[in-house]
Symmetry: C2
């Protein structure tokens, strides 16, 4: 696994690479899973790595299902946030915008499915990879894998929709 | 919504009613979502209410997706733990055992699907209801609804399997 910090070092043009979530409008940047303004939360950050999106997360020692392994709720949470973040960035890119040129529309998860393929060790950095399957007018579909130490432990399927104006 | 505490008061025979999770073997009672031995976690507790299972949870103020509403990862986590707990209790009951007579086999989630139907307000007690769809030899399928203030906000579908012996 390449650490995101290594990816940034490998390509000096992306040294100032910012995460998708850094471009959420301020009032929508409080998510427990990925909001930079939520001091209690996970603050997950998602980036483009070519056509895929990537995020990495180191679970805390207490994020366990049972000793040694990550609890499934955390994995679902990370897939949810990485999926909806990837959806927002994918739509933005499909519309011809360059990340950083303006704030991202916020996407929310309409549906998520997670298949747990193998126990996920608690002491590894989790590597999330998003693949954009479909970009519609308001709906984006993203597949996400979660790997630890090179092994895929979970697969997610996220259907995200643009946050309705009334929200 | 009936609070679980009210249900207990209404039926003195269930005053000592214990949660499914209270019967997990000690070494499998550390789950961040529902383990009584995880001091950092949610400590969700699930009970039978007739043929359905019920659990209730009050989110913390910081469990938000954006101000005022619960983040989806928490909802998925609660569905996961309530679903796998219900699976364990349903198999135990189907095998003719009475809760409390011995410890429950631990079930783990193989697959979870969550449909988010409406934004979930942060300031309400969340009411989870489980319906057992199928009890197999090692696999149990459970549907879960999550309601707030009487409105169903999310629906979950959990496929749980008995934890393999090697885990």
């Amino acid at each position: 696994m390449n650490l995101i910090s290594d990816l940034i070092q490998a390509d000096p043009y992306t040294v100032e690479m910012k995460a998708f979530q850094d471009f959420y409008p301020g009032e929508y940047n409080h998510c427990f899973g990925c909001g930079s303004k939520n001091e209690h939360g996970h603050q997950l950050k998602s980036y483009w790595d070519g056509e895929q999106s990537v995020a990495q997360f180191k679970p805390e020692s207490f994020h366990i299902a049972f000793p040694g392994y990550v609890y499934g709720g955390l994995i679902a949470s990370l897939i949810d946030c990485h999926g909806s973040g990837t959806a927002a960035a994918a739509k933005f890119r499909a519309d011809g915008h360059e990340l950083g040129s303006q704030s991202l529309d916020r996407y929310v998860t309409a549906s998520i499915k997670v298949d747990y393929l193998a126990p996920t060790p608690i002491d590894e950095i989790l590597d999330l990879r998003g693949t954009v399957l479909e970009v519609g007018k308001r709906k984006v579909i993203v597949d996400v894998t979660v790997s630890a130490a090179g092994k895929v432990c979970a697969k997610g399927h996220v259907i995200a929709v643009k946050m309705p104006d009334h929200m």
